[in-house]
């Protein structure tokens, strides 16, 4: 019985990083990062990816936004090359590509245009013999939805109209 238990725990340990990699398994040549995307507890809002730190613009793998643009900024070692690819479909051929090399400031920054719908942002990090790829997804919702949401006034959540308002909100969000 104990043997099975050990085996199960081992299998779970093996499976755990697999789920993390699934979103980033993009290139066969890349040493795809298995690092969990998490906000650094020491520094607020900083996404520590090991080889780079994202200090603004991305806080998790998947996000929803109304914004047309997103500036992704962060820190990396001098000499690190970063390639940003933005696309809506993985098979898409005309992917928007931006590349930059980190200088003495140890900073990087990239302005990304977001289209309505799903936007995949692939960040390839090249450091000497190491290459890692990280993938993020930002879903941009239509501006009209935002406007409609702004129009919905919630004056008193305990009022009789509460049910009606909630229904309106739910329908808009859908």
């Amino acid at each position: 019985m104990r043997k099975y238990l050990y085996l199960m725990v081992f299998a779970l340990i093996m499976l755990f990083p697999m789920t993390e990699v699934s979103a980033k398994d993009l290139t066969t040549n890349s040493n795809v990062s298995a690092k969990t995307y998490e906000i650094s507890s020491a520094e607020e809002d900083i996404l520590d990816l090991g080889v780079i730190k994202i200090t603004a613009g991305l806080t998790k793998e998947q996000e929803v936004t109304f914004d047309k643009v997103r500036n992704i900024a962060g820190e990396a070692k001098e000499g690190t090359v970063l390639v940003f690819k933005v696309y809506q479909d993985k098979e898409q051929e005309d992917k928007e590509t931006y590349s930059q090399s980190v200088g003495a400031s140890g900073l990087f920054s990239q302005l990304i245009n977001l289209k309505v719908g799903k936007n995949y942002i692939e960040i390839k990090v090249e450091q000497e013999n190491n290459e890692q790829v990280f993938l993020f997804e930002i879903s941009r919702k239509k501006e009209e939805i935002k406007k409609e949401l702004e129009e919905v006034k919630i004056n008193n959540i305990f009022s009789e109209q509460e049910t009606t308002k909630n229904t309106v909100l739910k329908s808009i969000l859908k």
Binding site: T55, G57, D67, V69, N71, A73, A104, S105, L107
Partner: protein
């Protein structure tokens, strides 16, 4: 009253008028010793008289629109555009309302990320503004907000709602939150309109992006398509092929005198021209500088608040500028770039803007013209004692070029330079684009100006 008495009064009036005018004529060149001189001085070149609250005089150096997006996206309003003027006027109305009926919420430590999380407009001023005297009869708010250098306004969408205002004192890391019931819908809509038409250049906030190399919150332009700018040249309209155009020079100096026809002129061997009328002396240096000095002294020390002194300086400058504009001369737009309190009064510095970008000249030029800014005004004893300004005009050249060096590249260059000198833990105070002139005969190009401590590092913005 009989006819004879009436004639006597009329005669007395005529005698007095004749004495007054004879005094003007006879003592022209010695008008400073003239019995009537003080009467003229009182009504003299003491500038434009502003009515209304002094707060109306405050001119923001930059107006930044915060779209309130994740990660931060901003745009800078161009000072030549109508939106800038509109935002400034609306803000002044709101500031006045705040100082009269605003509700003080709290004083807190400055947390940029927190206050920039909402759709808002940031007004940045040159230097610290003491609140004393900003309004003539305000509420107790002024005692709770001693000074500020920036104001962040969070407008409300509906006219009936309260607008929130943050008075920021970045030097002391303080923020004062105030709420006021005032219609700020126009500013709210302005943000939306600008967002719809946002240009290819967006700005980021260094504090919001956690860029710890920056001491202050600096807004830096980010772009994927490099913007295109025209080269500029600086010309002194007074100097034409090495000789002084006296007609133009007189057009510039005459508005500074009470009675320009009475001024005396003297030219020195080095080309410096002196004009004197009474206690007023105006010099023109062939490097392209005029210097106005009021030599009269009232001995009495007058304590002036920032806004009182600024009112005098601005009024003086505006009046001179209005006369110059009538002659189509020296029309570069200007902005207040700094101020300093001295033992005797206040000093104000103004600089030119060319195509909405500040104009900066090299240390070499500064040494030759003995000026660090385009205009310097010294206010003492309740009047302008010294006024120095460049007589240069910026003109567009046909040549265009791309500004393709990013702030990251410019920053790395400065860090490399300083590291080579052995500097460690480099902290950046400010970074911005400017039309920079390296030497007198060189054209102006856009450079990155990186300020580290008191040093300014110009880095070419086009490769």
């Amino acid at each position: 009253m009989n006819k004879d008495n009436l004639k006597t009064i009329l005669l007395a009036g005529l005698i007095l008028a004749s004495i007054f005018h004879t005094g003007k004529l006879w003592f022209g060149n010695l008008s400073g010793r003239n019995f009537f001189y003080n009467l003229w001085v009182r009504n003299g070149f003491d500038a434009v008289n502003y009515t209304g609250e002094p707060i109306y005089l405050l001119q923001p150096r930059r107006i930044i629109i915060n779209f309130g997006v994740e990660g931060g996206a901003y745009t800078l309003l161009k000072s030549s555009k109508e939106e800038f003027k509109m935002a400034k006027e609306e803000m002044t109305e709101l500031l006045t309302a705040i100082f009269f009926k605003g509700e003080f919420i709290k004083e807190d430590n400055l947390n940029w990320k927190q206050i920039l999380s909402q759709k808002s407009i940031l007004f940045q001023y040159s230097g610290v503004i003491p609140t004393e005297g900003l309004v003539t009869d305000g509420n107790k708010l002024i005692s709770k907000i001693p000074r500020f250098d920036q104001v962040l306004l969070v407008p409300s969408k509906n006219g009936g709602q309260k607008a929130t205002c943050y008075f920021i004192d970045e030097g002391y890391n303080k923020v004062y939150e105030v709420a006021v019931k005032h219609d700020s819908m126009m500013l709210y809509n302005l943000i939306d309109e600008i967002r719809e038409d946002s240009s290819q250049i967006l700005y980021i906030s260094t504090k919001q992006s956690n860029m710890n190399q920056f001491v202050n919150n600096v807004f830096l332009p980010a772009f994927n398509e490099p913007p295109v700018y025209q080269k500029m040249v600086m010309m002194d309209p007074v100097m034409s092929k090495g000789t002084i155009d006296e007609e133009k020079l007189e057009q510039i100096v005459n508005p500074l005198f009470m009675n320009p026809t009475l001024k005396r002129k003297q030219q020195m061997e080095d080309g410096t021209v002196y004009y004197i009328e009474g206690s007023i002396m105006v010099k023109y240096y062939p490097t392209g500088v005029i210097e106005y000095i009021d030599q009269s002294s009232t001995v009495k020390y007058t304590r002036m608040s920032f806004i009182q002194a600024y009112q005098i300086a601005k009024g003086f400058l505006d009046k001179h500028q209005a006369s110059l504009s009538e002659e189509d001369l020296l029309e570069n737009p200007m902005y207040l770039s700094g101020q300093r309190k001295t033992n005797a009064g206040w000093e104000f510095y103004f600089d030119f803007r060319l195509q909405d970008i500040p104009y900066v000249f090299s240390g070499k030029i500064a040494d030759q013209v003995n000026m660090q800014h385009a205009v310097k005004i010294v206010v003492e004893e309740g009047k302008v004692k010294l006024y120095r300004r460049l007589t240069w005009e910026g003109q567009r050249s046909d040549e265009e070029y791309e500004v393709n060096v990013s702030y990251l590249q410019a920053l790395s260059e400065v860090i490399n330079q300083l590291s080579a000198e052995g500097a460690q833990n480099i902290e950046i105070n400010d970074m911005y684009w400017a039309y920079y002139q390296t030497d007198f005969d060189k054209p102006l190009k856009v450079y990155w100006m990186v300020r580290v401590g008191d040093k300014l590092f110009p880095i070419k913005a086009c490769s």
